[in-house]
């Protein structure tokens, strides 16, 4: 290996990278806002007693879970303007595409944890004379929400990483800035390494937090 590293080419250009990071974080936060709220609504609809209500929601959720995020994003950017005649800013489009994707995954997380609330808990609620709404508000949702936190956090950080895909449709996020910087400076190794480290620096604390929460939950349960 006789490659001589030049990290100055990156450190001199940290400005664009941090601008990109700001866009990436903006995409992540907004997509999570959509994912956490829309995901919850979708989860409730998934468990609706009416088949007609369940079917389209199931299709929506499964479609996002079973196709590549890249396909979804490119489809969104090309097809939504043509099909619905709406023209939005590219960041807004990115937020919506990522947000719907996340909503589908979060809906599954909510549904799984709501259905995992033990039957006896509900029986105890009935025995205590709580009405159905009270049982949901005071027993099901608090238990389910707490149980779903690790998965929601994991999904949230996955969408942070998936947000790099919008670089392919020219949204100027961290990935995009890294790619153009690599081309400008002819220093792909230094540039991509620094960009990867930035992604890692954001993800790692969150995954550690998830691991900690999981361990604590298991310790309490065990």
């Amino acid at each position: 290996m006789n490659y001589s590293f030049d990290f100055q080419s990156v450190t001199r250009n940290l400005g664009p990278l941090f601008d990109g990071l700001a866009v990436t974080l903006q995409l992540t936060v907004a997509a999570n806002a959509i994912g956490l709220t829309l995901g919850f609504v979708l989860a409730l609809l998934l468990m609706s007693p009416w088949r007609l209500m369940r079917l389209p929601v199931t299709l929506f959720v499964e479609f996002f879970r079973c196709t590549p995020a890249l396909v979804q994003i490119i489809w969104f950017f090309y097809c939504v303007p043509m099909l619905f005649n709406v023209f939005l800013g590219s960041i807004t489009m990115g937020i919506l595409a990522l947000g719907f994707n996340l909503a589908a995954f979060n809906a599954e997380a909510y549904r799984a944890s709501i259905q995992a609330v033990p039957r006896e808990q509900l029986d105890a609620g009935i025995a205590l004379g709580l009405n159905p709404v009270q049982r949901i508000l005071y027993i099901v949702l608090p238990t389910a929400f707490r149980a779903s936190i690790p998965v929601l956090l994991t999904n949230g950080i996955v969408i942070f990483q998936q947000s790099a895909l919008v670089a392919i449709v020219a949204v100027q996020d961290l990935m995009y800035q890294a790619k153009s910087l690599a081309t400008q400076t002819y220093r792909p190794i230094e540039t991509f390494s620094v960009a990867a480290l930035i992604y890692f620096a954001v993800s790692f604390p969150v995954t550690q937090l998830v691991d900690y929460l999981e361990r604590r939950r298991l310790a309490v349960a065990g």
Partner: protein
Amino acid sequence: MDSLDFTVVLRFRDALLQGLSTTLELTLICVVLGCSIGFAVGLARTSTNLVLRNLSSVYVEFFRGTPVLIQLFWIFFCLPLLLGIELSNFASGVIALTLYMGAITSETFRASLKSIGREQYDACVALGLPRWTQITSVVLPQALLRAIPTLLSNCVSLFKESALVSAVGMADLMFIGSNISNNTARPVEVLTVVALIYFVIAFPLTRAVTVIERRILQKLAV
């Protein structure tokens, strides 16, 4: 907007099928290689050797903590510079996706190894089983059985992530799909069909995961 014309897609049927076969081939290769790495790394992460454990943790955390796209770019653009060799886009795709698969399946193997209860080891001792028999006849079969559902969903994730190789110019389903879409100016029809192809393969697999998981848990419940 113009009316939709799906016959466009039929004209390019062969090209799309060609792309699909590349996608499947790539996925299959990386499933085999990635699972082998994942198994070894999963064992290393439960090992008592500190060096082995730390090295494998760094590998897994790094690949879990950065976008697959940047891993792919790093391998495609940087590895050839560092090693002074040519690397085809197929080879870089295989390397990147194998390392990704290795990281996620190692977590699967680790969790399944950890899920084997203390009592099973006690029973082995009480029966006087030699160490090697404990591992080959009791621990590994149960761990592998338990790992199957998650491994299957890891395969689905890999299949979806494989669409990324289109970003380094590999002629997979996604790449051929977006080319046809650009050349015919019919993104809605072409991209929708591409998405459906991914869906038709991934959806039955995710359903199978649920069914298989239930059966295996039923069998292993003691």
